[in-house]
């Protein structure tokens, strides 16, 4: 899928001399705080959140990882 923002940034990096850059893609980064759910349940619930709201799977992929506070 075309990512015009990533392409524009790639061009800018080339102009700055970073010739080694062969591609840039822009995405979103979200921090979601889950109040202490067991890991298995948290994974399931977060997957549901991504499917229903956080990502539009027609145009976006998603993945998540857990960080313990």
């Amino acid at each position: 899928m075309l990512d015009p923002q990533g392409k524009a940034i790639c061009t800018s990096l080339h102009q700055l001399g970073y010739r080694e850059v062969t591609g840039v893609r822009i995405g979103k980064f979200m921090e979601v705080n889950l109040g202490g759910l067991p890991r298995e349940e948290a994974e399931k619930r977060l997957g549901d959140m991504c499917q229903t709201l956080l990502a539009n799977t027609v145009i976006e992929d998603y993945r998540f990882e857990f960080l313990d506070e």
């Binding site: 899928m1 075309l2 015009p4 923002q5 524009a8 709201l53 539009n56 027609v58």
Partner: protein, 236 residues
């Protein structure tokens, strides 16, 4: 005929539609706050342009979960006319009532100008008074109007004749130059399989009277009225 115009926090074209229906056509129009859960006595639901819920996350992503959208979905399932203009189109796509998605314009700029779209089919409730192949002049105003759908979906769309409007030049030719935002196949508007749900990026509500220099948009509203008159006649 009674139009119901859904108002989300951040909608800004609801009065354009209201003006067309009430003052230019002489029919009934009522605003429906997005927290309403019913559509009482409505003959056509319009999701107007704007920036519903600030377009946060993605255009239309939050609006999709406004309480009224359940009623809109049921209304569409029953065959009711649901017409999304600009942000309304984006909401219908996010809600899955229409296939595909609208993403950032290919040139990364907000585009606000008149352009032309070709009517790809006359046999819809929204275009029945316009001959197939007609080029209509209609303004756009959007930053996320680039129509995207995966290949398989796109092929289905074409096969099932769900593409209703395509960006074209003033003569009605579909060219790369006439495509303002990078939309696949120059797609400017699509309908669902049954044809009762339509979404389009251009604004017919902004060009429906000669005093504005262009009345092409009125032809869609006249078509909607014609559809309503026909279904009423069939019922009687």
């Amino acid at each position: 005929m009674k139009f119901g115009i859904v108002v989300f926090p951040g909608s800004n074209c609801e009065h354009d539609v209201y003006h067309v229906v009430k003052h230019l056509m002489g029919h009934e129009a009522t605003f429906l706050w997005h927290k309403n859960e019913t559509l009482p006595g409505i003959d056509c639901v319009v999701l107007p342009g704007g920036f519903a819920h600030g377009d946060y996350l993605r255009t239309g992503a939050m609006a999709r979960f406004s309480p009224i959208m359940n009623a809109v979905r049921q209304y569409a399932d029953r065959g009711g006319m649901v017409f999304g203009i600009c942000n309304g189109f984006q909401i219908l796509a996010e809600a899955g009532l229409l296939p595909g998605a609208l993403v950032r314009n290919a040139n990364l700029q907000y585009i606000c100008r008149d352009l032309y779209v070709r009517v790809e089919r006359q046999d819809t409730p929204y275009t029945n008074r316009i001959k197939t192949g007609t080029a209509l002049k209609i303004p756009v105003g959007h930053g996320e109007g680039c129509y995207y759908a995966p290949d398989a979906v796109l092929q289905e769309l074409v096969k099932k004749r769900q593409v209703v409007f395509r960006y074209c030049d003033p003569k009605g030719e579909i060219t790369a130059e006439a495509n303002p935002n990078g939309s696949l196949h120059n797609i400017a508007g699509v309908c669902n399989e049954k044809g009762n749900v339509l979404g389009m990026m251009p604004h017919p509500d902004r060009c429906a009277e000669e005093i504005l220099g262009n009345a092409d948009g009125m032809r869609l509203f006249t078509s909607i009225l014609h559809t309503w008159q026909q279904t009423r006649r069939n019922r009687i």
